[in-house]
Amino acid sequence: MKQQHSPIDGSQADVVLAGVEKRYGNTIALRSMDLSIERGELFALLGPSGCGKSTTLRLIAGFEQPSAGRVFVRGNDVTRIPSSKRNFGIVFQGFALFPHMTVAQNVGFGLRMRKLQKSEMKQRVMSALELVGLDHLADRYPRQLSGGQQQRAALARAIVIEPDVLVLDEPMSALDKILRDRMQVEIRRIQQRLKMTTILVTHDQEEALGMADRVGVLNGGRIEQVGTPRSIYETPRTTFVATFLGASNLLTGKVEGYDGAQAAISVAGRVISIPRGGLERGATVPLSLRPEKIRLCAHSPFMGKVKEMTYKGSTTYVEVDVNGVSFAISGDSAQIRGQHCEVGNLVGLEWDARDVVVLEDVAS
């Protein structure tokens, strides 16, 4: 299992940001960010457009200097070290292959800058190209490659220098859906084979959840939550995280009291109990409940009228109104059909108590 450690301590982690801030004039792109990325893990930075993903990446890669805070790599302070001395492999958004060089020359560039012997260079370029399955196109120019091939070339160029850290900035955004899925698997395979510490920047939550060991969700220049894909998806801490990682029912509950370790919370005129302490009696709390965690049944305290049904192949999407509160449900089409679920019918809703997550912020 992953162990906890303080973010300032750079001993176990490969990359550590300690109180890093970035301002552009009056705009604050990053607010006091603490982050530590462990050796060999694939860490995804996930967030919407303009949240500061690229900025974080540029600070880590050394293209930009933080306004405050420090950056550590393997325990060394690299805050003032230029990118040319950091030994990072970077796959840029849009790939940024050198247009005047062949694939082999592109991949060999980093080795050439390191003044390697010709023979060793050639051999390492070829094995990197083989790794990404591009050895047969070594003499092509970037413009003669498809999007997927360009991406492989960019990946080979980044990993051939055996970087301390591999950094990928929205590597899939230029690819179509099918290719994207394939490259996600492939990049993950290569990353695990080389056991390379990797930072992936993306705004695609499926990509982040599917590829990463851990995900950091970024919003408005702030890290909102860091955790494994499962923990982030199933126990989001804030409204933003809950909604950004997929559809969610955002409910408002009122803390009625405690029954042992169970908090009694009223939602849509009914009381549910949630295994959770530390809530103030009488307080209003935001709750998140994933649509796929709700099941339809014949009898339940939560009875409501079906307002809308959308058939989506293997799953069906249902909207049910309970006492004026709307619940979105998505479930297996066959199972939903079995519950006599039709628009206008009365159905019951049920879920496991632990699937209701109490959020920390106030829903806005």
């Binding site: 050394g62 492999g89 840029f92 940024a96 005047h100 980093g110």
Partner: protein, 282 residues
Amino acid sequence: MIPAYYKAPRTLLAILPLCFLALFFLVPVGYLFILSFVEGNAFGGAHWTFTTANYTGMLGDRFYIVIAVRTISISLIACVLNVILAFPVALFAARLQSVWKSVFLTIATVPLMVSNIVRAFGWVVILGRRGILNSVLQFFAPQMVLRQHLFSIQAICFGLLTITLPFTIMFLTNAVSGIDRKNIEAAESLGATRWGVFYHIILPLTKSALASGLMVVFFLTLSAYVTVTLLGGPRYKTLVGFIYDYSATLRWPQAAALSFVLLGIGLAFAGIVQLLVSERKK
């Protein structure tokens, strides 16, 4: 598909300027070409008998060879100085925001808005015997005061730079601006030093603009007359000066032959530059 009724006028529109060029450029040049192979007479006319003497006379004469070498040297020096001076400016200007870049490029081209003659006189004012340069030197470094800073190859090169630098700066600034910033960052992240980035990325990606710039510089300096005459003095002549002298004395066939020598030098330079530029393409 372009409809046929649209195609016809397009062809026409292309033919008209071509006719214009043919009439007012090719015909006189063709005439000059013929003229360069006939014997001249003393009255500005020609005996229409074929001869290559106008060319062979020059090629056999050491004096003309010296002048030709001097002419080419001045142009080459201008080219080298242009590259050395324009590249840093372009690298700086390319990083400006677009508004400031426009302002900067406009300012850089202001010298072109001033007539050649006025501009050359500007240099005379500075470099002349009682010029600004000597006044300043008088004050700081009296041993460097010369009777004359004018009438030297340095003065000519200075003068030619004011005409040519705006062009190279413009060409190179646009070319450098066209380079994707990420390409430069990619090179840096792969370990390239500043010089490495310049040599391996910026230079190859701007070489066709550089070639265009160099050709403009070479042609402009090769055919510069006013600047060379005013700053080089009456006795420091380049090939163009002789063309002027020949035509002033109505020796048309010699003037024509010399013009074609000049054209040949220009084309040879263009050929070499293009060869160098396309060398590494496959």
